[in-house]
């Protein structure tokens, strides 16, 4: 009896036992589509977020407010925005990253992987730079950046690219969902068969060996196997179905806040605070 009690206690304390949700807590899945291309992925929450083009406009609204603040505070130098086409390409990339660099399934871009591995093509900048007035002070710069955010309800424009900006932090990222974990196990086996060992897809994308400036053959081989294994196991299809189930649950429980959020950013586009 004592031995049995010890076994129960050990089971209860096993790693992951307290974090893995029971299937009763998990929302039911809809249809699981076979996903072979990043362009197939759509999320229910997408309709509450601005498009990449609208995010570009929001950025201009925000920076205009910041620049007005610099002037009000006696800063005579001017801010210089970067190349507008480059900025728009950056915002396009940010929105695409919902699928291509997902918080759930990591990297998934079958179009670029064989050339760029996990890295971005030159046509998709990973950063944009705006030069700030050179004669500003630390305090004024901070104040004016805050002023720029105030024009967007306290957000930077780029934050509108991700569901995390939605009320209450957006839908849960269901990386512990049992259905998703099962397909991750299949993906791990597939990666092992290709000679790669990673605990999960994010770990493969964020491997420190990819930090160098050049894309190595090893990175391309790993990323290619990663994407192939995601297609073979339909990891993104399952992941998208699981995420959609959580998204729907979230939308039902936050509907009025979501509508107000979407109306708010629509107002920011027109300069309404």
């Amino acid at each position: 009896m004592l031995a049995m009690a010890s076994m129960v206690a050990l089971t209860a304390c096993a790693p992951g036992a307290s974090t893995r949700p029971s299937s009763e807590q998990e929302p039911p899945l809809g249809a699981v589509a076979k996903i072979e291309s990043s362009s197939q992925v759509k999320r229910p929450t997408d309709s509450f977020l601005p498009s990449a083009q609208q995010i570009g406009i929001l950025d201009k609204v925000s920076m205009a407010a910041a620049e007005g603040c610099f002037v009000k505070n006696g800063v005579t130098g001017t801010a210089k925005a970067g190349n507008p086409a480059e900025a728009q390409a950056f915002f396009n990339g940010l929105v695409a990253d919902r699928t291509i660099r997902s918080d759930l399934w990591g990297f998934f871009d079958e179009r670029t992987v064989k050339t760029y591995g996990y890295s971005r093509p030159a046509s998709v900048p990973g950063t944009i730079t705006e030069q700030l007035p050179p004669d500003s002070s630390v305090d004024v710069t901070r104040k004016c950046m805050d002023e720029g955010r105030a024009a967007l309800g306290g957000h930077d424009a780029d934050q509108f690219a991700e569901p995390k900006v939605l009320p209450a932090g957006g839908p849960k990222v269901p990386s512990q969902d049992s259905r998703y974990r099962a397909v991750v196990d299949q993906w791990k086996s597939c990666m092992n068969e290709h000679g790669f060992t990673y605990e999960n897809p994010l770990a493969a994308m964020l491997d420190r060996r990819w930090d160098g400036g050049t894309v190595s053959g090893e990175q391309i081989a790993t990323a290619t196997a990663d994407v192939q294994c995601k297609v073979a196991t339909n990891l993104v299809g399952v992941g998208a179905a699981v995420q959609s189930a959580y998204d729907q649950q979230y939308i039902v429980s936050h509907r009025s806040e979501l509508d107000a959020f979407a109306a708010a950013w629509d107002g920011y586009l027109r300069g309404v605070r």
């Binding site: 990973g126 944009i128 730079t129 705006e130 991700e162 420190r208």
Partner: protein
């Protein structure tokens, strides 16, 4: 950038970087540089940051960044840099970093 991250070995003792005045009560916080998911700001005393929010900082001698699984903004006296996930970049080490945002 791989070399940038290796500087963490001297981070605890380096004096070239000072962190002051965390003004915002947000969830963003400085963390040990133990995870590639974090935002890394490389300097003689590399710092790493995690969780969403905005924080006022004074970081001297930053010469590069690695964004991990984060998008956000780095503001200095002379520059506002918006970054996406899984990216790396250089920084002018004479330009003091004054504000960080992780989305």
């Amino acid at each position: 950038m791989r070399k940038l991250k290796k500087t963490i070995g001297v981070a605890a003792t380096a004096a070239a970087l000072t962190l002051t005045g965390i003004a915002s009560a947000n969830a963003i916080n400085r963390v040990d540089c133990t995870d590639n998911n974090y935002l890394w700001l490389s300097s003689a005393a590399t710092t790493c940051w995690a969780n969403a929010g905005t924080v006022n900082v004074k970081l001297f001698g930053v010469y590069g960044f690695s964004t991990g699984q984060n998008a956000g903004t780095i503001v200095s006296l002379h520059r506002r840099q918006v970054f996406s996930k899984n990216g790396v970049g250089n920084w002018d080490k004479n330009d003091t970093v004054t504000q960080l945002t992780i989305n």
